[in-house]
């Protein structure tokens, strides 16, 4: 199901494919190594520390701070229709980093390195096929099923 992930997906087959299913249900998941406890985002199946291939998906709150960003004017294939768009790299509170587009809750002129952000799971296109992603939003932004269940 990893082919659901991203506007254009280049890697449909991966050992962490369930990540996209969780995202569709409104959950942001990192990975934790069953052998040594190494926790990271984006999730990885194989532990870079102890080489174990046993892992669990763990909940990530999505809270973090902006590390750096850019507004891309010259877009590659498959992204011309959304250009210009702004990409940010976020240092996540629970470890690891996330790269994503800024969402609609943040205006361009508000973007500042160090600002607090919330990574929010998104279903962004459901006409013919499932497309999931996540975006960078204002802290406190509510989203989808996870919040509806609560």
């Amino acid at each position: 199901m990893f082919e659901w992930f991203g506007k254009v997906n280049f890697s449909p087959y991966t050992k962490v494919g369930d990540f996209a299913g969780f995202l569709k249900d409104g959950y942001l998941k990192g990975s934790r190594c069953r052998a040594c406890g190494f926790k990271t985002f984006p999730p990885r199946a194989d532990c870079p520390q102890c080489l174990s291939g046993e892992f669990d998906f763990v909940d990530y709150s999505g809270r973090g701070r902006l590390h750096t960003y850019t507004r891309i004017a010259a877009a590659p294939n498959g992204f011309e229709d959304v250009a210009p768009y702004t990409i940010g790299v976020v240092d996540l509170e629970e470890g690891g980093r996330c790269l994503a587009w800024f969402g609609s809750t943040i205006r361009e002129e508000e973007i500042k390195i160090g600002m607090e952000l919330q990574v929010v799971p998104r279903i962004f296109e459901e006409i013919e096929k499932i497309k999931v992603s996540y975006s960078l939003e204002k802290p406190g932004t509510k989203w989808g099923r996870r919040h509806a269940d609560a």
Binding site: P42, T70, I72, L99
Partner: protein, 385 residues
């Protein structure tokens, strides 16, 4: 162990070379290097080709180049590490000679980048980053360096004007290089006002793709000395890697692979940054040259913006003269050829043969060649006899 010396250099014209195939470009540079070395073709006992295969229709390029240069049956192979492929070829040849397996090796960096259609180029452009977690958001090569630039500006107060000053310098030297793609000076205002590509980078912060080739002939110490001409020695080689993903880097205002590669090369050559008079650094984007000043130790971390603002990297500026052939910015960046082209310029400088752009009293020179966004960096230190 034997030293490794450069006995011949050759360099084709960089630019849109719709007149030639990639092997024809390689031939131009090779012919010039062979004549410069003054040796017979049969004395070359191997060649190493630096090139990035996905830009060429021709598959398995090394064999095609070897045939066209009439170097069969000598062995050949290709090295690929993105924009540092040429320096990987240099390192591989150096290793071959150091080990005693080879005596004289031709290193050929060659690349055609204008063979592909615009849609093909745009598709390649979309896969420059880590494709599983990053390219799905439309990241681009300028976009990554733009994120380095914002990070550097935030950490150290570097300005867009300082970035633009890098382009102004490199264009001023490109104007003096008959092999360069762009041979005209620009003003800082023109650079600042150019179209945005990925904020804070504009068109003049970015190098241009080009076709081109360069060739260096390396020899063992015995063969180089027997050759009886001025030899420039490749005395220090450093190479290191860093994560492909920007999500796994310690910071985004430095290239850790460059810091590590520089330390290795300095140690091996028994020199430090203060001993270097001239350097070729990988200015694929203006911010990359500023980070290179710092990563190579030409100035303190964070002082790269001031280094260019104070014109220290100009010839006679009181620091290390950097990219006095125009750099990737003005000379053009045929990705597989770039590392070898850098070596050609440093050898010219250390021979005192760089004419209008000669750095006075150049004794130690350095090349800094980065693959991708710093996944690979090669730093090579050259010394004159």
């Amino acid at each position: 162990m034997t030293r490794v010396g450069v006995i011949g250099i050759g360099h084709g014209i960089f630019g849109r070379r719709s007149d030639a195939t990639v092997q024809e470009l390689a031939f131009e540079a090779f012919r010039e290097a062979l004549a410069d070395a003054g040796i017979e073709r049969k004395e070359i006992d191997a060649s190493v080709i630096g090139s990035v295969p996905e830009y060429h229709k021709q598959r398995s390029l090394a064999g095609v180049v070897q045939e066209y240069l009439n170097l069969n049956p000598a062995p050949t192979w290709l090295t690929e590490v993105a924009c540092a492929s040429g320096s990987a070829a240099m390192r591989t040849a150096w290793m071959g000679i150091k080990s005693g397996v080879h005596q004289i090796v031709a290193v050929i960096g060659c690349q055609k980048m204008t063979e592909l259609s615009t849609p093909e180029i745009l598709a390649l452009m979309g896969r420059v980053g880590e494709v599983q977690w990053e390219s799905i958001f439309g990241t681009t090569f300028p976009g990554y360096y733009a994120m380095f630039a914002h990070s550097h500006m935030h950490a150290f107060g570097t300005t867009r004007r300082q970035l633009a000053e890098v382009a102004v310098k490199n264009h001023s030297y490109g104007a003096l290089n008959p092999k360069a793609l762009f041979r005209k000076e620009i003003t800082v205002e023109k650079a600042l006002e150019s179209e945005p590509v990925a904020s804070p980078l504009h068109v003049y912060d970015c190098c241009a793709n080009a076709d081109g080739a360069a060739c260096v002939i390396l020899a063992s110490e015995d063969r180089a000395r027997a050759h009886g001409r001025k030899v420039v020695w490749l005395d220090g080689v450093g190479c290191a890697t860093a994560s492909m993903s920007v999500l796994r880097r310690p910071n985004l205002y430095s290239l850790p692979s460059a810091v590590e590669a520089a330390q290795q090369a300095y140690r091996m050559a028994e020199v430090g940054p203060r001993d270097v008079q001239v350097a070729e650094v990988h200015d694929c984007f203006s911010i990359a040259e500023i980070m290179a000043y710092e990563d190579l130790g030409f100035c303190e971390k964070g002082q790269g913006g001031r280094y260019i603002e104070e014109r220290k990297s100009y010839i006679g500026g009181g620091g290390v003269a950097v990219n006095v052939d125009g750099g990737l910015k003005a000379k053009g960046h045929p990705i597989g050829a770039t590392g070898v082209s850098m070596a050609v310029e440093i050898v010219k400088q250390l021979r005192g043969a760089a004419e209008a752009r000669q750095v006075p009293d150049a004794r130690v020179g350095l090349t800094h060649n980065v693959g991708g966004i710093g996944q690979y960096t090669f730093v090579h230190v050259y010394r004159k006899d």
